[in-house]
Every structure is written in structure tokens, then in C-alpha cells.
Amino acid sequence: MFPQGVTPRVTAANTPQMESGLQEDVVRQQSFVDLDRWMERYQQADPDAPTALVGALSPALLRFFKSQVATREQADDLLQQTWLRIHRVRHTYRPGEPVLPWIYAIARRVRVDGYRRTRRIGLHEIAMEVLPERPMPGEARNAGPTFDTLVAGLPEGQREVVAMLKVGGLTLEEVARATSSTVGAVKQKAHRAYERLRILLQVQAEEQAGGATQ
């Protein structure tokens, strides 16, 4: 799918066959360089560059949008808008700078704009409430909460940070850059998010234990 030389970082980072942290680091480093190189070629109007970048980054971007409580349709729409905006502002990428914070900063802005647009449209529409499917007894306990359902209980800022760290595979420094924030603030948000998630899991487990004894 990707032109030769592209190692999609996110795909590589999520591959279960990774044997050691060192190997993972080498792959990450390698794919960083590849993305940087493709971004430079994109600025030089290399016709292969858009395919390489879109192929390498879209799966993680789509996951990022989906984890921000967007439906699949909305996530697809946001993905297209992100690439459109990236295309418009591609001159603002400085060769040698990390690509991922640049991409995610744009994606984050597109998501915020998309959310506001959806909310405005929603004000003029009559909402048809769809009731969530009720899990079969014991089913949820065995399966465990998925990442999306787990982070859905977090406030927006914390959810965004956790999604970038865990779905996008960004480092703390990269998340800080993407969110126009500082590393300290990102660490604090992540810490609060994990604390909250642990409490949510505890409450869920207690509720399920209570339900099972009744």
C-alpha cells in the first residue's frame, strides 16, 4: 500500500510481534525519519508523497477521532478535512522538525471546529435518541472495557491527551507541542486521567460484583 521506504510509525508501534523495547525504539526512530523525509518531498510536490503520508498516518488519525467520541462517519469526515487543511498549510512544516506534533495539532483543531459545527447543526435538528445496546449479563466483565469506552468517561482535555499518547503513540513532548501546552501540563493531565480511569474501573467492577450477587 505504501511506496517503498515508508514505515508507518503507528502501525509499527502497534504491532504485537514487537520483541523488545529497543527494537521498538529503532522502528519508531526509523519511521520518524521516513515521515520527515516524505513531508519534505510533499513540500517539493513529489506525487508519491501524498499517498505515502495519507497511508501511513490516516489509520492513527482515524483512531484518534473515533476515541474523541465521534461516530465512524464523523471520524471519516474529520479525517478528510484534516488532510485538506494539511494540504493548505503544508508550507508551515519546517524540515527537520517532528512531523507528528505538526499533524496532530492540525487534527486537533479540525476536531474542535468539527465539534462546534456539529453542535450548531444539532441545535437546529430534532435529535433521535438511540438507546445503547445493553450488554448480556457477564459479557462486559469477560471482555473488559475497550479503549474507547474507557476514555469516554474522561473530560475532553484528558481524553485528548490519553488518545494522543496511547493511540497516536506520541511522546509527552510531542503531545505538549500538539496541544500548545507544556510537558508539565501534559504530565499532569495524563496523571489525572489515569487516576480517574482507575476509579472508574473500580466503580464498574463494584457495580458488576453487586449485580452478580443479587
Binding site: Y42, T51, Y93, R94, P101, L150, S181, Q188, H191
Partner: protein, 263 residues
């Protein structure tokens, strides 16, 4: 090590240290948290047709672009504009204050203004590029700089009763604000080369930087050394310009979103 420590460690390091792992092994909830966060995300890739459509759309309008100049050029441009505009302002109004202020007061207030302008210029350069590195959160910066100047003023100058407080204050605001507005134009011309993702935040920072030009001119020109006068009418100019920048940025953001909606 307890659950809170595990959450802290998770937020700071990708790999848990041995101590944390020992706790995770014995704690059901931490175990579940770590497992949920580390669990592979189910594959739900975008359709190849969509990706092809996006890539083809991008490739069809592909023209070479010149990347932005290095950050130091923009920083130099912002600082040069700042100094030039202050010089132009002082050329018109003169520097009466230096003769009535103590050297300590002059040096301290100019250093505070220089730090404020330098930090704001650096932040604006980073805000011009998505994913720029920020030492201080740009959303807090305008408030922080305004407070720094207010504290410096309160520490360096005395609070005294003034008979014509509002008349004098209005005179300085009327003189300093146009200088700030004038300075905002070249700042905007530099900024528009980049991409502004948060127009409100960047507008406030640009407004404050432009307002600081007005404040600097007033600090060197106005012979009134009362702390309350400086706070209200000199720093007030910077605050007014920052608020104007915020409003302009927010309005531009709203208009942009509305035009996107219509497309």
C-alpha cells in the same frame, strides 16, 4: 508504591519500573487499568477507496511550496518591529521620564517590558507553526506578563492620591493606544505567513505585544510616576490592545467557521 504512584509513573514513563509492576501485580484495579491502556486497539482502518480519494485530491493540486523561514528570523522580525515602533513613538513624543525617574526605576521597568516583549515574541513565533514548542502555555502568557508588569510597577513606584486622576489617565490611554494599533499592523503582516490554529489566543498575544509598544513609549515619555496612574493608563493600554486582539481573533475564528459551514 500505591495506586496514585502507579498513575503518576504511567503519566511520566512508557515502561513501568519494577516497584510499580509489583504493585500492579497485587492490585486488581491497577492491573485492569494497565491492561486496558496497553490492550491493542481493534483495527478499523479507513477504507482504501477513501484514502485513495484523499491522496489523489492532494496530488492533483500539488505545487512546490517554500517552507517557512527558521524561527529565529521571525523572532528577529518581531523584536525589530517592536524596537522600531518604540523608537518612532519616542521620536514624536520625547523621553521626559528618564530625567525624573531614578536609574533603578528606569532600568527595572525597561527590563520587565523587554522580558515581556521577548517572551511574547517567542511565543508568537511558536504559535505561527502547528506543533510549535512552548516553554510557557500560550493561553496563560498574556495574563502572566500583565501581572509581571503590574507587580514591577507596584514595587517600583508609590501609590498617591491624584486630583486629576481620570483626566490624566485618559490622556495617556488616548496617546498610547494609537501607537499600539499602529504596531499591530506589521506584527500581523509577519504572522500571516504562518498558520494560526487558535486565532483568539494568538490575537490576544499579538494585541498585548502591540500594546506593550504603546506602554513602553508611555513609560519613557509620561512624567507621572504614581503607581496607580502607570497601572491604569500605561499598562491599561497593553490590556486594551490585548482585549481588542482577543475579540478580533475570536471574530475571525467565527467568520472562518461560518464560511466553512456554508461551503
Amino acid at each position: 508504591m500505591n495506586c496514585k504512584d502507579v498513575a503518576r509513573t504511567l503519566s511520566e514513563q512508557a515502561q513501568l519500573p519494577l516497584q510499580a509492576e509489583d504493585h500492579v501485580k497485587s492490585c486488581q484495579y491497577c492491573q485492569e487499568l494497565v491492561r486496558s491502556l496497553d490492550s491493542p486497539v481493534p483495527a478499523d482502518p479507513p477504507s482504501p477507496a477513501t484514502l485513495r480519494q484523499i491522496a489523489e485530491g492532494m496530488a492533483s493540486h500539488l505545487r512546490p511550496v517554500r517552507p517557512l523561514a527558521p524561527a529565529r528570523y521571525f523572532l528577529g522580525a518581531f523584536l525589530s518591529i517592536f524596537v522600531s515602533m518604540v523608537a518612532v513613538g519616542l521620536h514624536r513624543t520625547g523621553t521626559f521620564t528618564i530625567t525624573v525617574q531614578t536609574p533603578l526605576q528606569t532600568a527595572a521597568i525597561l527590563i520587565a517590558l523587554a522580558i515581556g516583549a521577548g517572551v511574547l515574541a517567542y511565543s508568537l513565533v511558536q504559535q505561527m507553526v502547528p506543533g510549535g514548542r512552548h516553554r510557557i502555555a500560550p493561553s496563560l502568557l498574556p495574563v502572566g506578563i500583565t501581572m509581571l508588569l503590574a507587580i514591577a510597577t507596584a514595587a517600583l513606584f508609590q501609590f498617591q492620591q491624584e486630583p486629576n486622576f481620570w483626566r490624566d489617565a485618559w490622556g495617556c490611554i488616548r496617546g498610547g493606544t494609537p501607537i499600539g494599533v499602529l504596531a499591530a499592523v506589521p506584527f500581523w503582516l509577519v504572522l500571516r505567513r504562518g498558520t494560526i490554529l487558535s486565532p483568539g489566543m494568538t490575537g490576544a498575544a499579538t494585541g498585548l505585544l502591540a500594546g506593550l509598544v504603546g506602554t513602553s513609549v508611555l513609560e519613557l515619555q509620561c512624567p507621572n510616576l504614581h503607581a496607580s496612574h502607570i497601572l491604569v493608563s500605561h499598562i491599561g493600554v497593553a490590556i486594551l490592545c490585548a482585549l481588542a486582539g482577543l475579540v478580533i481573533g475570536k471574530t475571525a475564528e467565527m467568520i472562518g467557521r461560518r464560511s466553512d459551514l456554508l461551503q
